[in-house]
């Protein structure tokens, strides 16, 4: 057990003052210290992508970062996607196109897609497929995930969703 340090995490616009060991990952802190369990814990070594969150708008693996490193950054998790009852376009597209099976990978995919579409709305279809290979879906429901994200992208660009 190492000495605990004080860290304030800003998640979905709210500050969480925490006292934790430096070895606590951002993922641990989000789930266990802040109680935001929508971010899922899969492999804990950066392979599965279930823990993907946005750090200053960038999709990252929350298990590959220590919570102390995230001080001062704006973190966004699945709990911060909808505005009240209004789901974000990627969430709506996942429902419309059945991009969800068991649901375990879903928060990671939603954060990944939301981050990528906001950062790179001109992304090519090949690049989009490559990006979506970042996360694992063990139901192998990739086709509907790809369809949903394409639809969200089309909506974002002002085309037919």
């Amino acid at each position: 057990m190492s000495e605990r340090v004080e860290v304030t995490l800003s998640i979905n616009g709210r500050d969480y003052p925490l006292r934790l060991e430096p070895r606590r990952t951002l993922l641990d802190a989000i789930r266990d210290e802040c109680g935001l369990t929508g971010t899922h814990m899969g492999c804990e070594h950066g392979v599965c992508g279930a823990c993907t969150v946005l750090l200053d708008g960038q999709p990252i693996r929350a298990c590959l970062m220590f919570a102390v490193q995230a001080e001062g950054a704006a973190i966004r998790t699945i709990e911060g996607l909808a505005a009240g009852d209004a789901l974000n376009p990627v969430q709506r597209a996942f429902i419309a196109h059945h991009g969800v099976q068991c649901g375990f990978c879903t928060p990671g995919f939603l954060m990944l897609a939301t981050g990528v579409l906001a950062r790179d709305p001109d992304i090519s279809d090949d690049e989009l497929r490559e990006v979506l290979s970042s996360n694992l879906c063990r139901c192998t429901g990739y086709q509907n995930i790809v369809t949903a994200v394409r639809a969200a992208l089309a909506e974002l660009r002002g085309g037919a969703a």
């Binding site: 057990m1 190492s2 000495e3 340090v5 060991e21 430096p22 070895r23 990952t25 641990d28 804990e44 070594h45 950066g46 992508g49 993907t52 750090l55 960038q58 999709p59 990252i60 693996r61 298990c63 590959l64 970062m65 220590f66 102390v68 490193q69 990944l112 990528v116 490559e130 990006v131 290979s133 970042s134 996360n135």
Partner: protein, 291 residues
């Protein structure tokens, strides 16, 4: 799957970083940059540093600029910066095509160019780029700065000639003339997996003949390197299947293959042959072929 305890340090200046490194390196202190290799190794407890010196808040490490005919990549520059060409000419295009092979998008958001070199995984793409282009790697410590040629930097898997109290603060890649041709090929079973073999070919044509050929290999030996046996064969040859096959065969014969449960020595030689051939074909596609 949880890292062992460590003390965390977050310096904001290079001076403070180097002082911490000098003090803590002998006490199992390590530099934390992007953390995309170190954090998983810590989760598996393959690495148990007692101190982490986080360089993410250090001012002045994010430089990415052309100076003296070279691209200078600071220790804070992340893989994702290379998604679009960072410099005009073949070098920017080359880096943008190769970066797509590095792990996955969210990993590329955090992982750093210099961190990848310092980590020295035999299958790391940037390590192959560094040796193939004869990059210069700048190491700093409290005792001063030294420039290490890439050919003398990699010593073994995850082992470099960097001293424990030194920080790899910058990599310098030579700009490539506009007529430079290059091709890169990598084999892994799934997108984003560690490569089982990769090759980077860089060459010029003088008239119709190959000159100044460079062939770099990664993921096939303990360290990435240029293969002189393949480069010599290409010199003065007409580009095409015959010369490329001969060079690929020479590369495959020249290596001391890494072996792992997926890939025995023979298979790795065959992959090496195929990757060198493909890299050369991409550098000099036959007329009418799609590049």
């Amino acid at each position: 799957m949880k890292p062992a305890p460590f003390a965390y340090h977050r310096p904001t200046t290079l001076d403070a970083t180097l002082r911490l490194l000098a003090e803590l390196a002998p006490q199992e202190g390590r530099v934390l940059a992007g953390g995309q290799s170190l954090a998983p190794m810590m989760a598996f407890r393959l690495a148990r540093p007692a101190h982490l010196i986080d360089i993410n808040a250090v001012a002045g490490l994010n430089g990415l600029a052309v100076r003296e005919r070279g691209l200078r990549v600071g220790a804070g520059v992340r893989h994702a910066e290379f998604h679009r060409p960072v410099v005009d000419g073949p070098l920017g295009v080359m880096l943008a095509s190769i970066v797509r092979h590095i792990a996955h998008y969210p990993i590329r958001m955090r992982g750093t160019f210099c961190g990848s070199l310092a980590h020295a995984d035999p299958a790391a793409e940037w390590c192959v780029v560094a040796v193939t282009l004869d990059a210069e790697l700048v190491a700093v410590g409290i005792k001063g700065e030294r420039v290490i040629p890439a050919a003398g930097f990699f010593r073994g898997p995850m082992e470099t000639t960097l001293e424990p109290d030194e920080l790899l603060c910058e990599a310098r890649l030579p700009l490539l003339p506009d007529d430079t041709r290059f091709g890169f090929a990598e084999f892994s079973r799934r997108a984003g997996d560690y490569a089982q073999a990769m090759a980077l070919a860089v060459l010029h044509l003088e008239g119709t003949l190959i000159t100044a050929a460079r062939v770099g290999l990664g993921g096939v030996e303990a360290v990435p390197r240029r293969v002189a046996a393949a480069e010599t064969i290409l010199e003065g040859e007409v580009p095409g299947a015959e010369a490329f096959n001969a060079a690929a065969a020479a590369a495959a014969a020249a290596i001391e293959p890494l072996q792992d449960p997926q890939t025995d020595a023979q298979y790795r030689r065959e992959l090496t042959h195929a990757m060198v051939y493909r890299a050369l074909m991409r550098a000099c596609p036959p007329p009418g072929a799609q590049r």
